[in-house]
């Protein structure tokens, strides 16, 4: 189903607007902070609308493309919005908008806000570029840019802890990025410059050793970002160190970007049939399955809430890689849907974690006893997101896990259900005790102890995005089968992959 692409300015606009906003952040904030907030909000909202329009178009079967820049006579920077990219792009933009609105409340009074907002909106541009990248080189450029330029956001608080986490982050990411670069160079060497194409761009007549090398370079390179064990080391340190809205984006989208890279690689660089012939996928399944269970087991013992959530991200994102490694239609649908669903669930959880920090001064799970009495709405959102994470119907987590399960059956590996359900059970074990504490334990933090905190619900700027994320979690679950929902787009994308 190689549909002829429609030339459209929208992808370029969606990518370029945040760039302009990032440049303007510094001058505008001299005028006033309100002006800066207005600029950022307008840009993020219009970008979200554009990505949604693109997604709607992609759901209608169109593919949009646009050329940005000629790098060399052969290579263009090229954006191409197919169904998979449109889905990921819309997820990115909407989550970013939520996190941005939340930031306006959360970051009030923090230091160096110009830097924070500038880089925050800048990274939106890179991530969208990554979602819409039409060939490997474009993908690589945006991948590297957004990996490296998020460093100031990771270390924003500039505590020694944050600096150490930032160093760890940048070392991991650079090593991963280098491997991706190597893989791309090898791909160009083997297949020349080509846009992503269903069925892959590498031919099966390439030297098998070369194919193996390319594949593993890609996998390890993107695996760092997708936090596959044992390449996950940066995730549990970076999340607690970063500000909460950025943690939400980091978990919801950034880690997913690695998985997205793996999806592109598997389906549009190699192609399912070539990979099946190479016989590498069972190893990937093994690594991903191990990651699901191992990270979940580690999460159980984390007292720091954000750290626990970070381990949960590692575990949940490994589902995506696990699903991709099955090379089945249904499981690919599940993988793409899970990226979106997880973004809003985990985004919501991190936004909650931020509220607990700001309003209760609670960083750790054991400080959350009785939190539901002070912050009923936050606690309710947290509960819904937790249940979604576990895969309780009718929330969105159930939808994606359902398709993952179907994919496992479709590819005739019913025993993998043990991993799927085991991971979900572990999720229950590490998430639900928090919910229980919030509702049914007596609070340990007495009002006198509250120094930073006011111990009440947050203002609407922070609560609003959280409620929207939670509503999306419910909506994407209950309405999963409605037209225009992620499942439809994902199915379109998966069918294109397997065409």
């Amino acid at each position: 189903m190689e549909t002829e692409a429609t030339r459209s300015i929208l992808p370029l606009l969606a990518f370029a607007l945040p760039l302009v906003a990032a440049v303007l952040t510094a001058p505008v904030q001299r005028v006033s902070e309100r002006a800066r907030a207005a600029l950022l909000l307008v840009v993020a909202a219009s970008v979200a609308v554009m990505t949604l329009v693109l997604a709607a178009g992609a759901a209608g079967g169109s593919v949009y493309d646009t050329y940005i820049l000629q790098l060399t006579p052969q290579i263009w920077m090229y954006l191409r919005v197919d169904a998979a990219g449109a889905l990921f792009g819309a997820t990115v933009a909407v989550l970013w908008l939520l996190a941005l609105v939340y930031s306006l409340g959360y970051m009030r009074g923090e230091h160096r806000l110009g830097r924070y907002y500038g880089f925050f909106i800048l990274c939106l541009a890179w991530t969208l570029g990554l979602a819409y990248a039409g060939n490997l080189l474009t993908f690589l450029i945006f991948y590297e840019l957004f990996s490296i330029l998020t460093y100031p956001l990771v270390v924003h608080e500039e505590t020694p802890q944050a600096m150490a986490a930032g160093t760890k982050y940048i070392v991991y990411i650079l090593v991963g990025g280098t491997l991706v670069l190597l893989a791309i160079v090898l791909t160009f060497f083997s297949a020349g410059v080509q846009t992503f194409a269903a069925g892959g761009i590498l031919s099966s007549e390439t030297d098998p050793a070369m194919l193996q090398a390319i594949f593993w370079c890609f996998l390890v390179g993107f695996g760092v970002k997708a936090a596959l064990v044992p390449l996950h080391g940066w995730v549990p340190d970076a999340h607690p160190a970063a500000p909460a809205p950025f943690s939400a984006v980091l978990s919801g989208v950034m880690v997913a970007a690695g998985s997205f890279g793996i999806i592109r690689t598997v389906f549009q660089v190699f192609g399912p049939s070539l990979l099946a012939a190479m016989g590498v996928m069972p190893y990937v399944t093994g690594v991903a399955g191990f990651t699901v269970l191992f990270a979940a087991a580690l999460a159980v013992n984390q007292d720091n809430l954000k750290r626990r959530l970070a381990y949960s991200t590692i575990s949940q994102m490994a589902y995506v890689v696990l699903a991709v490694s099955l090379l089945g239609l249904e499981s690919t649908v599940g993988a793409l849907v899970h990226i979106t669903n997880h973004a809003f669930m985990k985004g919501g959880l991190f936004l909650c974690a931020g509220l607990f920090i700001r309003r209760l001064g609670a960083y750790n799970v054991r400080q959350l006893d009785g939190a539901a009495r002070r912050m009923p709405i936050t606690a309710a959102c947290f509960t819904i997101a937790c249940l979604g994470m576990i895969g309780t119907p009718p929330l969105s987590g159930f939808t994606s896990k359902w398709y993952l399960g179907l994919g496992m059956l479709e590819t005739d590996r019913p025993w993998l259900l043990a991993v799927l359900l085991g991971g979900a059970l572990m999720a229950a074990i590490y998430l639900l005790p928090i919910v229980y504490r919030m509702y049914f334990r007596e609070p340990v933090i007495t009002p006198e102890d509250l120094t930073v905190a006011e111990g009440r619900e947050a203002p609407a700027t922070m609560l609003g995005p959280l409620v929207v994320a939670t509503a999306l979690t419910v909506l994407l679950g209950i309405g999963a089968s409605l037209p225009g929902m992620p499942v439809e787009l994902a199915r379109l994308a998966a069918e294109a992959f397997f065409h």
Partner: protein
């Protein structure tokens, strides 16, 4: 039943009439629940009326299914939501479940209005019950497995709020256990559902097609499904949450939990055994296809027998009335499972089992709800639930007592009460199963069944006897009177139904079971036979008499020998093992985390240590190399020593100047300076300068020796330490200069005196000892090596020799060789500069000059090293070429 007729029925059933009623029944209470809180916040009375009306309407709607189902056999509604769409399909059995569910719900809601007066959070309770009602109806009306799972999970998770409602410590503990069991059951269930897809299922509640998947997969799917539903149904061995959770809830909630909600589990198992794993209804009922179904039925049958026996055994040991009833729920679920299991085992002839199991489902819902409501009424008035502390209540609460007796008669199977019918049906089914393949073990099952009936009888003799009859064991105040009318109304409705179903079994058998079985193509005629010949027949009545005889025997023996207070050690309880397993899992996770952190910490420590080790080693190596270059390659007094000597020189030079200055000052203060003052001071300065110069020269000599021994650095350190000692020589010199100045002025020779002074100063000072130190052997070796290198250098032919050779005329190769040798000589001489002749002191007044010179020297040496290395490489290259 003739073949053509079956086909006709099947065709009829395949046609689904569409109706919005099933969906409305499920979604109605769900939507209605959203209004409970807004209304209840302001008008609690209105809220009460509201929930009663909602449940009444639901009941009405459920009854409204009867004509629809009678006409169309199966009706369906479809709601587009979730994965694809939610389907609700109603056949006779679903309808039966829906009706008794909403009926008991209505009764319990009436009862709860008064009961809740001593509880808090009424709005939460009512909202929860409405949501749970919706979920429960969703389960029994679900048309496909996904819908079923969705509502099953919702039912389980939301009912958590009913269990924990009182928020006492016991309730929290029980709710926690309930919750985890539910979650795990949910996972088993979803796993099982997935596997049915692997077995070729379409997700509908229809027989799985034969020939898909192997036997192992089939068993795995069946077991997972049965565990998933069994957790909810209180099936042994996953019943452990039930006896904790049901008693801690408020009594009407207990009635719902025990009476209705566990039936959702039974419903699931019923559908698994009789729908999913049943062969397709074909024109010919082929016995061979029933093999798996038979085996599964046998397993369920035995699970049922175990559940009923263990439940009753544990119930007998309880003293808390609600806890006892909860254990009876387990036991009664065993009856139901035994019926369903027998139905599966008997396959095409399983009508009796289906009827028995489902009849008992309805009956148990009625009498167990009534019992919980009755015990709740007792608690409402007396605040006690202990069997051994109450008593004689029949006088105080006569109407409650009557209703309790009716319910007890129902559960124990007194003829003309409902339990009698279902227990006889199940008994018949087990006997049939025994006769079917003559399995001896099923004969034992039948005996256990009778004993269990005896245990049940004993239990309720105990309950009625201890709580309502006998003498009061506590003082009852005036508040202990009959329950309020709304409570009584709720119980009365249930009691009426108990009696009605006991008198008129054909209501269900003819009205529901036969049409339902007929739709499946099973033989329902045997039920007619039962109604006509066996109902209230001699053998059936005899078995009841036997059970009651056993019951009385148990009661009296137990009371006499205090057998009802035995408690087994905890490791006999499955609960204990589950707790150990859960604890083990968490410990495992913690262990994994600790190990991981330890490995991670260890790795980073190893990395840190090896990095610092590497740094130290590199530094040491660098020092050694520098030592080698400064001693071996550049000749003994390498730049480093030179630098040190210059430092020493600076120190000593300063000392010399200070000495001279002091002498002049001394002279100018002590002398009578009127005569020839200028020349006298000149003379003093001259003499002092000479002596101090000699001293300095000697001291430099000592340091020079130290340098040659490679020991200069240490000597310098000592020199810095002995600075004050050196200064001691100033004063004697000044005095001597002062004394000798006149003679000098006069032109006399003072050489000898000066020599004597210097000698005495030197021998007094022993400068060499001050800066001496034992010299390590390695440094001596290095010194020798340096000397050797010097000799080698001198041995090389010099330029004039070479030019001589050149003059003699040589070949080209010799020319190159000569050039190479010259280059080598240059390089070596660049390395080993002359043993530094120290510069004359007077040219070096400033430290900076020395430092600059030093830097130039070092630079020059590095350049020469580079040249040398390049040269060596070239040489090797040339050699390689030549070879």
């Amino acid at each position: 039943m003739d073949v053509g007729h079956t086909a006709h029925v099947v065709a009829e059933v395949a046609h689904l009439a569409s109706s919005p009623l099933p969906a409305a029944l499920v979604l109605g209470p769900l939507v209605a629940s959203a209004l409970v809180r807004p209304i209840g916040k302001r008008w609690p009375g209105m809220r009460n009326a509201y929930v009663v009306v909602v449940t009444a309407l639901t009941l009405l709607g459920a009854v409204g299914l009867i004509p629809l189902v009678a006409e169309h056999h199966r009706i369906q509604s479809i709601v587009p939501a979730l994965l694809d769409e939610l389907t609700f399909t109603v056949d006779s059995f679903s309808m039966l479940f829906a009706i008794f569910t909403s009926f008991v719900w209505f009764a319990a809601t009436l009862h709860s209005l008064d009961y809740l007066k001593h509880e808090k959070k009424h709005d939460r309770y009512h909202t929860t019950t409405l949501v749970v009602l919706a979920a429960n109806l969703g389960v029994v009306l679900a048309g496909d497995l996904v819908t079923l799972y969705l509502f099953f999970e919702a039912l389980g998770l939301v009912a958590f709020l009913l269990v924990i409602h009182t928020e006492t410590d016991d309730a929290k503990k029980a709710a926690g256990k309930y919750f985890w069991m539910t979650v795990i059951g949910g996972f088993a269930l979803v796993g099982g559902i997935f596997l049915t897809f692997a077995l070729g299922g379409s997700g509908a509640l229809e027989p799985l097609p034969a020939g898909h998947g192997d036997e192992v997969l089939r068993w795995a799917a069946a077991i997972l499904l049965i565990i998933g539903f069994g957790v909810k149904a209180g099936m042994v061995p996953v019943h452990v949450w039930l006896p904790d959770a049901h008693p801690v809830a408020p009594a009407p909630a207990s009635a719902l939990l025990s009476g209705v909600m566990i039936k959702a589990g039974a419903y699931g198992i019923f559908r698994v055994v009789t729908a999913l794993f049943r062969p397709e209804v074909a024109e010919h009922v082929e016995e061979g296809l029933w093999h798996f179904s038979e085996q599964l039925g046998l397993v369920v049958l035995w699970i049922g027998i175990a559940t009923m026996f263990i439940g009753v055994f544990l119930a007998l040991q309880q003293s808390n009335a609600k806890r006892m009833l909860a254990y009876h729920s387990v036991s009664q679920m065993g009856f139901i499972l035994a019926g369903i299991g027998a139905a599966g085992y008997l396959g095409a002839h399983g009508a009796m089992g289906v009827a028995g199991g489902l009849y008992h489902v309805v009956n148990h819902a009625l009498f167990k709800a009534c019992l919980f409501l009755g015990v709740g009424a007792v608690y409402f008035r007396t605040h006690s639930l202990d069997l051994y502390h109450t008593g004689g209540l029949w006088k105080k609460m006569p109407i409650t007592f009557v209703f309790m007796c009716v319910a007890a008669a129902g559960i124990t199977g007194v003829p003309l009460f409902n339990g009698f019918v279902s227990k006889c049906l199940i008994h018949h089914a087990i006997v049939e199963a025994w006769e079917y393949h003559e399995l001896a073990s099923l004969g034992i099952a039948e005996k256990i069944y009778i004993v269990t009936c005896g245990g049940t009888a004993c239990s309720f003799i105990k309950l009625i006897g201890l709580m309502f009859l006998g003498k009061p064991k506590m003082e009852y105040g005036p508040e202990v009177k009959d329950a309020p009318p709304r409570m009584l109304l709720g119980m009365g409705m249930l009691a009426t139904a108990i009696i009605a179903l006991g008198w008129f079994p054909q209501l269900l058998i003819k009205g529901v079971f036969q049409p339902g079985l007929h739709a499946w193509g099973l033989h329902g005629d045997i039920l007619d036979h039962y109604l006509e010949h066996s109902f209230l027949s001699g053998p059936d009545l005899m078995s009841v008499v036997t059970a009651f005889a056993l019951g009385f025997a148990f009661f009296f023996v137990g009371m006499k020998y205090h057998l009802f207070h035995l408690h087994a050690p905890q490791y006999f309880s499955i609960d204990w093992w589950y707790r150990q397993a859960a604890r083990g899992l968490v410990t495992l996770c913690v262990g994994i985390d600790r190990t991981y952190e330890a490995v991670r910490g260890g790795t980073s420590r190893v990395l840190r240590v090896s990095r610092s080790t590497y740094r130290t080693a590199a530094e040491r190596l660098g020092r050694q190399w520098r030592l080698v270059t400064t001693t071996l390659l550049t000749g003994a007094p390498g730049a480093r020593d030179q630098h040190l000597m210059q430092e020493a020189y600076l120190v000593l030079e300063r000392e010399r100047q200070d000495t001279v200055r002091m002498a002049v000052v001394y002279a100018s203060t002590h002398a009578d300076l009127d005569e020839a003052d200028g020349t006298r001071l000149d003379a003093v300065r001259e003499i002092a300068a000479y002596i101090a110069g000699r001293m300095m020269h000697e001291r430099m000599g000592v340091l020079g020796d130290a340098m040659r021994r490679g020991n200069l650095e240490h000597a310098l350190a000592l020199l810095a330490a002995v600075g004050p000692t050196l200064a001691e020589a100033r004063r004697p010199i000044a005095e001597a200069a002062h004394a000798l100045a006149p003679r000098r002025e006069r032109g006399e020779s003072i050489t000898r005196e000066v020599g004597a002074i210097v000698n005495s100063l030197l021998s007094g000072e022993r400068f060499d000892l001050l800066v001496a130190e034992r010299v390590p052997a390695s440094k001596i070796t290095l010194g020798h090596a340096a000397d050797g290198l010097g000799r080698a250098r001198r041995a090389l032919p010099n330029a004039s020799d070479l030019s001589e050779v050149h003059a003699r005329g040589v070949s080209r190769l010799e020319n190159v060789a000569a050039w190479a040798v010259e280059l080598l000589r240059l390089a070596v001489s660049g390395f080993s500069q002359e043993r530094s002749g120290l510069l004359p002191g007077h040219q070096l007044q400033e430290e900076t000059v020395i430092q600059t010179r030093l830097r130039i020297q070092r630079y020059a040496r590095d350049i020469s090293a580079n040249v040398a290395i390049v040269f060596v490489v070239l040489l090797l290259f040339a050699a390689a070429l030549a070879v």
